[in-house]
């Protein structure tokens, strides 16, 4: 009896940590709930879960013994990770299909979570290339693409360093947008598609994942979580607009 009680605590604690990590790294709410319930079922427990913007309330029940386990856990602020999203989701299926022990489940989870992050230089270069491609898609010429690539490297580097320094992310967005667009505004001295260059230089900051997740959450009925995600994304977009406006006010009044 005592062993079982410990088990429900261990499993409840694991599921809470697992769900919070998934929410933190940008997984939409219904997937988090499905995965958490799947792991609970694999161990013979029923999982009830309420997800909010900043924390999760979790309840684990053993229908046989009527035993209950409750936990409230804060959602950590983690970088968006599609890899964690996919691998942690797959882990819940593996637990369900192969009836993994909690020890195995925990070690696999730790391996996923503690795997090395993607090299920041690798991210920097590809974000620069992606943003330059956006510039092309919006009608920018080759000169603008080059300038946007370089401006994005500057803005993204600043974002990476300020994030590592633990600076408030609204300030990070304002400063990064300002510096990237200021750098891109150097295109104005050439006869090139400079307006497109300036506009697309800040696109790397657009919070695409919260926007998409917000819509998915609302459509799937998690309206509170969805709206809070959209509200947060809207604040970040306002921050980008503030940073971009600083540049436009500075460089030429005709641009705004």
């Amino acid at each position: 009896m005592n062993e079982e009680r410990e088990k429900i605590e261990d499993i409840g604690s694991f599921i809470a940590e697992y769900s919070a990590h998934m929410m933190g790294c940008g997984v939409h709410t219904s997937r988090v709930i499905r995965s958490a319930k799947r792991i609970g079922v694999a161990f013979g427990y029923t999982v009830k879960i309420s997800v909010f913007q900043k924390n999760i309330i979790l309840s684990l029940a053993d229908k046989g013994t009527k035993e209950l386990y409750n936990e409230v856990i804060d959602i950590p602020a983690l970088p968006i990770s599609f890899e964690h999203n996919a691998r942690l989701s797959a882990l819940s299926w593996e637990t369900f299909d192969k009836h993994l022990s909690l020890h195995d489940l925990r070690s696999k989870y730790d391996r996923i979570v503690n795997a090395p992050h993607i090299n920041p230089l690798f991210v920097l270069i590809w974000v620069g290339i992606a943003n330059a491609s956006f510039c092309r898609l919006f009608g920018g010429d080759w000169h603008s693409m080059g300038i946007v690539f370089s401006a994005t490297l500057i803005g993204m580097f600043l974002r990476q360093r300020m994030t590592a320094a633990g600076i408030n992310h609204y300030i990070i967005f304002i400063v990064s947008a300002f510096v990237a667009s200021l750098s891109a505004s150097t295109s104005l001295i050439f006869d090139t598609t400079s307006e497109i260059a300036i506009a697309t230089s800040v696109l790397f900051l657009v919070p695409g994942v919260p926007l998409i997740n917000g819509v998915i959450d609302i459509v799937e009925g998690y309206v509170l979580a969805g709206f809070s995600r959209l509200a947060q994304a809207a604040l970040l977009i306002i921050c980008i607009a503030i940073g971009l406006s600083f540049t436009l006010f500075l460089v030429k009044d005709s641009l705004i």
């Binding site: 992050h117 090299n119 300038i147 050439f190």
Partner: protein
Amino acid sequence: MDIFWSTISQYNSATWIYQLIIILIGGGLTLLLLRRPDRWVKIAMKVFLILVYLWISIVYYHIYCAARSYNIIMSIYWGFLAATWIWDLARGYTQFEYNRKYAGLATLLLVMPFLYPLLSWLRGLSFPEITSPVMPCSVVVFTFGLLLMMSRKVNLFIVLLLSHWAMIGLSKTYFFNIPEDFLLVATMIPALYLFFRDYYLRHLTDDASKPKRKYVNLLLLLLSIGIAVILIISLILELTTDVPPHLTHFNR
């Protein structure tokens, strides 16, 4: 084009004596930094760089390049660079510690500002309508050389801002017909590769990196080669075609 060279001409005529003083101070501080790298010398070098960047921002762009379109952008950009150096001075980030490894390339970069006027002269230009050692591109090359020579701990944000300037140089060679800027970009490419490799990959093991260190290094190498290829194409385009009139009207 006319305005571009006439602003340079006015700037050189009016400031050559101050430029000479700046060159002497810069040269003296560089020698001191190499021979007696005391703390005050490092601080003095940073103060010197802040003043030179402000000089470019205010004297060169704001005053003498007022006739050019959007000179204010360049003025702000160089002001921002000066502000970044002030932040670096306050935080003591760049340490100016000698690194023997890249001494060859660094020496070449430090000499480059003097090659600029020589190249202008070889192209048939004469004073005051020539590029001089206290102009934006020359200052960028000098800073790159200095940072590479003292590259144990470098402020990569400043390097990125300067490389952005160098990237603009690629377009300038084509739009404004300034082949001198090829020197800037050509020497900048290997320096950039070395700065990035040292900053991101020097202390990294394969286990701690995803993708593996060698693949990230390969990507960086490919990027550098890509920029070099674009540079060569720009050079060929400039040598084989005249700049269309519609590309220069905005600067007249």
